[in-house]
């Protein structure tokens, strides 16, 4: 049995966070029916709009895997009645449309719970439903900026940057799925459904908990740059000859500095007063880093990892998206799985959040075509 087998989820979502939250539930075996307007989820066209060349709509499939798809025009009275009928037999309703719009269309929590008092209603918004910005849609870059995620991803010169891959959407989605599971669990114990109010901002702040705690406890500024805090070339990332990267994470740099110099071919600098100890290296980091970077380009990553391992110098791979699938741990733990689809054949997809021992989940299909299951689902209502 899959963990969420037997649950029916109605998914009225667009783009990334909302659909992905529902996809997490589909992964664990829930039946998820994605409801789209006649023109479809605008997420279907996003890649094209952004000028990204990909014959396979990876964005839409990643966010909508494992779901069935129907078309309902919720502006129309007839289709709205069909939705209400579906709600009667559902366990969860998820939306990330702006909540004002949701209320105007009469598919909000108050309305739907009239048709199903046990319904779990999950809203994915930008910033939550309460407060001065309640119900507002979110934007990944803005949320990253407001939450501190950007400030605390700075380089050694304190220049911030942003995290890729739609960070706030991804963390907002897992938070929404978490809240939904909690609500399902409570309902199993008590019979009571409720509203689950999740947001991108809440997710991003959850990621920043440690630094909120740091500042909240002391009113002192948390470290702005991870690399800048240690200011140690032995706590750093380096590009190697084969364009792969290596991470050095040596906790006792003074102990390993002479060996490190020898391994990378700058033994003559080991005793140089500019670099001889941690303080000296911190003060002269901008002179030292280019030298080390140059040396590290001389050999491929695997060779460096072997040489460092011989001297117990803590080093490990820094993976980019092309080396991640080849990582032995990724393979051994099946964090990327093969999904077989009628139309697209075999597609590899990440599947790494949780691994239950007795009731594992699975990605069973890719995303549905627009309205692919409309007839099937609506016929089952008759």
């Amino acid at each position: 049995m899959k963990p969420l087998e037997g649950y029916l989820v109605l998914d009225w979502t667009i783009y990334h966070q909302g659909p992905l939250a529902a996809a997490h539930l589909a992964d664990m075996g829930a039946e998820v029916i994605k409801i789209e307007p006649p023109e479809g989820d605008p997420g279907r066209d996003l890649l094209e709009k952004m000028g990204i060349d990909s014959p396979f709509n990876y964005y839409f499939h990643s966010n909508n895997r494992g779901k069935k798809g129907i078309i309902l025009d919720l502006v129309s009275k007839e289709d709205k009645q069909l939705l209400y009928k579906l709600v009667e037999g559902s366990d969860v309703f998820i939306t990330n449309y702006p909540y004002r719009e949701v209320k105007d269309l009469e598919v909000d929590y108050e309305t739907l719970t009239k048709y199903n008092s046990r319904l779990i209603y999950t809203v994915c918004s930008g910033y939550g439903l309460e407060g001065p910005e309640g119900g507002r849609s979110g934007d990944d870059l803005i949320v990253q900026a407001r939450s501190g995620a950007m400030r605390y991803s700075s380089d050694v010169n304190d220049t911030p940057t942003a995290i890729g891959a739609g960070f706030s959407e991804a963390i907002g989605a897992i938070t929404a799925a978490y809240g939904t599971l909690l609500a399902l669990y409570i309902r199993e114990r008590t019979g009571v459904g409720q509203l689950v109010d999740s947001s991108m901002f809440g997710g991003a702040l959850e990621a920043m908990r440690e630094w909120i705690s740091f500042y909240g406890s002391s009113r002192k500024p948390p470290p702005i740059s991870v690399l800048g805090t240690t200011s140690s070339p032995l706590w750093y990332f380096y590009r190697c000859k084969d364009d792969k990267w290596v991470t050095l994470s040596v906790l006792q740099p003074d102990k390993f500095w002479p060996d490190f110099c020898e391994v990378i071919g700058i033994a003559h600098l080991a005793d140089d007063p500019k670099y001889v100890n941690a303080d000296a290296r911190r003060n002269n980091l901008n002179d030292l880093l280019p030298i080390i970077k140059q040396q590290m380009l001389a050999k491929p990553r695997e060779e460096w990892l072997k040489l460092f391992a011989q001297r117990n110098i803590a080093a490990s791979p820094l993976n980019d998206m092309s080396t991640l699938p080849e990582d032995e741990q990724v393979k051994a733990n099946e964090y990327i799985v093969e999904v077989t689809d009628d139309k697209h054949g075999k597609v590899n997809m990440p599947f790494s959040v949780v691994k239950p021992g007795k009731t594992p989940g699975a990605i069973t299909t890719l995303a549905p075509d627009l309205g692919e299951h409309t007839d099937e689902i609506l016929n089952s209502l008759k």
């Binding site: 950007m150 400030r151 991803s153 938070t175 909690l182 409570i186 470290p223 490990s316 990582d327 733990n333």
Partner: protein, 399 residues
């Protein structure tokens, strides 16, 4: 019932950030979390002191251990492990992020614990997964972020990878563990079965990079540059103002707002400059255009820019630091940042609860326990020991 996990007991044998985070999220939702530490305390205590960070409150320990009861058990003693097994019998969830090889050696792995309590939900919180050549390797956030691809998707202007603060990989691993726990509880409620569920730092990191990983898996292409350079738009970018503050502009319909933006920065001549008058051209000539815009942004303080952009309907926001975050009205209204009244330390600002359940919200009650603060209380209340039993344990050096 007012708290989601009221009546649920979690036995927490964890250290540092990832494991404790899993169970603190459950504590916030009302579970009775009993944290087991060795006599000298878990290694996370005092970590900040060792690193030279001087704070009135051990923010690190308290962040991931608030609201828990804390007991001491010297697990090298068999009598202590017996106590642990008795606690397992009275618990619903067991969480550990000690390396599984350590758990096996101490007979605290799933096979053993499930004999004492077949319904136990055993959350194994690993670094790089429980299988594979590096399954027994200790993991740390920094190396984990790098290995999991997070650093690769967080690049400088020059295309160099960066790590994210606040222990992002540890935190995400912790969140996945809490997700696993609720999933396990749900399955058990429906079917009666307990099981082991694994969540890892590497798995959590992969979830963070998912979209770009899927891009690679589907197209064979890798993004190895700063996200701003990748998008290639001055209207989706990061700027530093005259007063050394940072802000972002986030506009997707760039052609619509290019004219208004040029007027705001008083560079109307750029609007129809043949090098920059479409989104494609702006992307192609990014290296020419951005320095020009940045130079202009440096002429005014951030407040001025944010006001003019707002008036023009151009979405922008300050790059906040923590002093900004804790004052954010929206964060306070939603309880994402909270001020709690701790019995000992008075009012403290703490991270809040990330998701609100309308009928059964979570609640933060207090800061973290002192080492071994609740040992006797737990032995008396949960295991029904007498004071004589407790003395006997003390004599055996169990705690």
């Amino acid at each position: 019932m007012t708290l989601p996990l009221e009546g649920i007991r979690v036995l927490d044998w964890t250290c540092f950030q990832q494991g404790p985070t899993t169970s603190v999220l459950l504590a916030d939702m009302g579970a009775d979390v009993i944290k087991v530490e060795p006599p000298e305390g878990e290694p996370g205590r005092g970590l900040m002191r060792i690193l030279g960070v001087d704070m009135p409150v051990d923010f690190y320990y308290t962040n991931q251990n608030r609201g828990k009861r804390g007991i001491i058990l010297d697990l090298s003693k068999e009598a202590a492990r017996e106590v642990m097994y008795q606690l397992v019998e009275k618990s619903d969830v067991f969480v550990t992020n000690y390396r599984y090889i350590v758990a096996k050696n101490l007979k605290l792995e799933y096979e053993t614990l499930s004999k004492y309590n077949p319904k136990i939900i055993y959350i194994l919180s690993t670094g790089y997964g429980m299988r594979g050549p590096d399954a027994d390797l200790p993991s740390a956030d920094f190396a984990g972020q790098a290995r999991g691809g997070i650093c690769s998707i967080t690049r400088t202007e020059e295309g160099e990878p960066l790590a994210v603060g606040a222990g992002l990989a540890d935190e995400m691993g912790g969140i996945c563990g809490a997700y696993a726990a609720i999933l396990g509880l749900l399955v058990r409620e429906r079917t009666g079965i307990g099981q082991m569920i694994e969540a890892s730092l590497l798995g959590g990191a992969i979830e963070i990079v998912r979209l770009w990983l899927q891009y690679y898996l589907s197209t064979g292409k890798v993004i190895r540059e700063s996200i701003f350079r990748r998008v290639g738009s001055p209207l989706w970018n990061l700027y530093q103002s005259q007063d050394n503050k940072w802000f972002v502009i986030s506009v997707s319909e760039a052609d619509q707002f290019w004219g208004p933006f040029c007027r705001i920065i008083e560079a109307a001549h750029l609007e129809n400059d043949f090098r920059f008058n479409t989104a494609d051209k702006r992307r192609q000539n990014y290296d020419e255009l951005l320095p020009i815009v940045r130079q202009i942004i440096q002429n005014e303080p951030r407040e001025v820019w944010l006001n003019s952009l707002s008036r023009a309907g151009i979405a922008a926001a300050p790059v906040n630091d923590m002093s900004d975050v804790v004052q954010d009205q929206q964060a306070q209204a939603m309880g994402y940042v909270q001020e709690i009244n701790d019995a000992e330390r008075g009012k403290v600002i703490v991270p809040g609860i990330p998701v609100n359940l309308s009928k059964s919200p979570g609640k933060i009650t207090r800061l973290a326990n002192e080492l071994g603060q609740h040992t006797e209380e737990v032995l008396l209340e949960v295991l029904g020991y007498t004071w004589d039993d407790i003395s006997a344990l003390r004599e055996q050096g169990v705690y």
